[in-house]
């Protein structure tokens, strides 16, 4: 009897931080998605507040500006009754490396329980995590990972199709510079989905085949028979530096249109992390239709997923208290 209980306890989410999808086991991902499902229902009630994190302090530390993600984390913390503080740090005022650690040490002295951190440089959140005693959630680091967004996308898919395993998912656009794409590739692969990257060769990272993904340079071919189409936002500064010739050529080859979408399965789900560049990565009228459906879902589920992550990361702390 004791042994069985211990095994069950071991199979609970026991990570100290959420720095990326890379270190998560499939069952841990499953657990976070299950928890989030419950919060979706809660968030639709008039009374959304739970006392779970009462007394705990959550600091949102954003070195890079963000409205959606930061608001989502703030709401998640407040609905779980944490004391939430937002800190926007302007990196221009900071030196790199040493001062990031200085910031970590200073914040640590304030005894926060959860730090939600976004930083423009890959690996910066992990560096900061080594210098604090509380849980750290990566809200996006450089072009490395954005784990909560990948969880949101996975939950969106799971609620629409009932599963992740066996699905064929096309991730289209600037994979090279996208932390969302990296986290999604890792998560979808871990959950048994097949991932196909659709991008020009200049926007596909080197040796990406090691992740076990397929690569297509022709969008119509890449979308052939897929269940899910994830369209990445194209940063317009990619037009500099010869990644791409022009907006018009990008839209011509990689803009999602009804014509190209016709190659996907008839009920294929279209997703976009938003905000969309109409006429760049997606056709304007198609964007209107999609915005009414899945893309707003993704925003709604964002709060629920972040509540699930906050619950899972503070579990040991709460149980010790």
């Amino acid at each position: 009897m004791m042994a069985v209980m211990r095994a069950a306890a071991d199979l609970r989410f026991s990570e100290r931080h959420l720095l990326g999808i890379e270190t998560l086991k499939p069952w841990a991902i499953q657990e976070l998605l299950d928890l989030a499902d419950g919060y979706v229902e809660l968030n639709r009630q008039p009374e959304k507040k739970r006392p779970l994190l009462r007394g705990l302090t959550q600091i949102n530390l954003f070195f890079e500006p963000s409205t959606r993600t930061q608001t989502s984390f703030e709401l998640a913390g407040k609905r779980l009754s944490a004391d939430v503080v937002n800190m926007a740090v302007r990196t221009s005022a900071m030196q790199k490396g040493e001062t990031l650690i200085d910031t970590a040490v200073t914040l640590n002295a304030m005894h926060p329980d959860v730090l939600v951190v976004r930083h423009e440089h890959s690996g910066a959140v992990a560096l900061l995590a080594r210098h604090v005693e509380c849980a750290v959630i990566n809200a996006g680091d450089g072009r490395h990972e954005h784990p909560t967004q990948a969880l949101v996308d996975a939950l969106t898919i799971r609620r629409r199709t009932g599963r992740l395993e066996g699905l064929v998912v096309a991730i289209c656009g600037d994979v090279m510079h996208s932390r969302v794409a990296r986290s999604n590739i890792l998560l979808l692969a871990a959950m048994g989905a097949r991932v196909r990257l659709v991008a020009p060769p200049t926007l596909v990272p080197t040796d990406v085949a090691l992740y076990g993904v397929e690569v297509a340079h022709d969008m119509a071919d890449g979308l052939d028979g897929v269940d899910i189409v994830m369209v990445l936002r194209l940063q317009l500064e990619r037009m500099e530096g010869s990644f791409l010739p022009s907006v018009r050529e990008y839209f011509h080859r990689y803009g999602l249109t009804r014509e190209k979408l016709a190659r996907a399965k008839p009920d294929a789900l279209v997703m976009h992390p938003g905000p969309m560049n109409r006429g760049v990565e997606i056709d304007g009228t198609l964007a209107d239709d999609i915005e009414r459906s899945a893309i707003l879902d993704q925003v709604e589920l964002g709060v629920a997923v972040r509540m699930a992550v906050l619950e899972a990361l503070t579990r040991e702390l709460r149980e010790a208290a």
């Binding site: 020009p200 060769p201 010739p245 018009r248």
Partner: protein
């Protein structure tokens, strides 16, 4: 029964695709080769066939010149589609690829359409457009390669300008690889000789002219070959001029890289001594090199390391050439004299006539993906009939180009074009007024 059958009989047939060099005839019906071989002729010909007696002259696929510059648009005083087309046809050239460095530059799909429309109106040589590799040929931002390819380009190049920025080159190669079109680069590290006007060496020193070292070519070529290995793009090195350049191409091919190369008739037949007396018609880029470089180029062409002969036809008028050497423009015309000039290599025994014809037809056609360069039933009847031995003297006044900047002025050559056909239509006949 079709009313438009023509037979060329009593010819020496040269078909590089089948490595065939034998006497015979060729039957054309509706602009297309209907039959070819020793048995064509006599009673088997359809009634009413128009007969052309070749009298033993060579019949080969029309030449494919993969590197040509006309002045149109922008410099119509130097060459137009009409004058350039006439010169090409007189030289036996039936297909050519136009460089994009016109004014405006061919870096927009609308310009590709302009070139095609203008070429159709000139009704002669088949003109294919090369698209700009970078926008405005500035080397900073890749051009709309996908849209250019869809508009009908056969390759991408910045023409006479090498792409200096390695990152732009890498990304452009990767992007072009997706589109399946070759990237054509004239390899030269411009920073090594920003004011160079001729080959670097003793002669430049004596003449007091700034030199362009062989290293300028090899450094850029080696860089490009590494980027080709990284991206898998099809790469064509244009106008190889040095011994080391030939060697680099040879190694790259041995390593299995998708690399091809061309050389000009000027570099195959002339060396840096031509510059003596500050002859600006010998001012070309890359410059005419040492004799040992020329020898290496000839050997490279003979063993197939260098795939194609390309004229690098670049008309310059008197205003651009009658200047102090350092101030004169680079470039030479060559589309009309390419065949007779190169026949010297056959006469001296360096390569066979069939090998030379292959380098002038099938190989360049293959690099650009053109359906040309073969004497086969079903192929367009784009043909050149030439006498390989007839001696004559190149006179600039007799050339059809508007500009007369040939470095071969006064040269005695052996071999001349008798007749050129495009789609079975006679478009040039020996003795036609220039």
């Amino acid at each position: 029964m079709s009313g438009s059958a023509t037979a060329i009989l009593n010819a020496r047939l040269l078909d590089p695709a089948r490595r065939l060099d034998e006497p015979g005839g060729l039957l054309i019906r509706d602009g297309v080769i209907a039959d070819v071989g020793p048995s064509v002729g006599g009673a088997a010909l359809p009634e009413g066939t128009q007969i052309i007696d070749a009298a033993g002259a060579c019949l080969a696929p029309g030449l494919v010149d993969m590197r040509v510059h006309f002045g149109e648009p922008g410099e119509e005083e130097k060459e137009t589609f009409d004058s350039g087309s006439a010169a090409a046809l007189a030289g036996g050239v039936t297909s050519l690829a136009l460089l994009p460095d016109t004014d405006p530059v061919v870096d927009d799909p609308a310009m590709v359409e302009y070139v095609e429309r203008r070429a159709r109106r000139a009704r002669g040589v088949k003109v294919y457009a090369l698209g700009a590799f970078t926008r405005g040929l500035e080397g900073r931002q890749i051009a709309e390669l996908g849209l250019l390819a869809e508009a009908g380009t056969v390759g991408f190049t910045d023409g006479p300008k090498p792409v200096m920025d390695s990152q732009v080159m890498r990304r452009g190669l990767a992007y072009a690889a997706m589109l399946g079109q070759p990237v054509i680069q004239r390899p030269e590290d411009l920073s090594l000789a920003p004011d160079g006007v001729m080959n670097e060496g003793a002669i430049a020193t004596r003449l007091g002219l700034a030199g362009i070292p062989n290293a300028a070519e090899i450094i850029m070529l080696e860089r490009d070959l590494r980027l080709v290995a990284l991206t898998g793009a099809r790469y064509h090195a244009a106008q190889i001029s040095t011994e080391e350049g030939v060697e680099a191409i040879r190694r790259a091919k041995a390593a299995g890289l998708p690399v091809t190369a061309d050389v000009s008739p000027q570099h195959l037949l002339l060396n840096e001594l031509e510059v003596e007396g500050y002859r600006t018609f010998a001012k070309i880029r890359p410059p005419l090199r040492r004799e040992r470089d020329r020898q290496a180029l000839v050997d490279g062409l003979a063993d197939g390391t260098l795939d194609a002969v390309a004229s690098d036809h670049r008309p310059q008028d008197q205003d651009e050439k009658r200047l102090p050497f350092a101030q004169a423009a680079f470039g030479a015309i060559g589309v009309e004299t390419m065949l007779p000039v190169c026949l010297a290599l056959v006469h001296e025994g360096t390569l066979s006539l069939l090998e030379l014809i292959e380098r002038l037809t099938l190989r360049p056609a293959h690099i650009l993906g053109l359906n040309a360069g073969r004497l086969a039933p079903g192929a367009a009847a784009d043909l050149v009939l030439f006498d390989p031995d007839r001696p004559w003297k190149i006179k600039d006044s007799a050339l059809r180009s508007l500009a007369k900047n040939t470095p071969f002025e006064g040269r005695l050559v052996q071999g001349g074009v008798r007749m050129t056909m495009v789609d079975g239509r006679v478009v040039f006949r020996e003795g036609d007024p220039a």
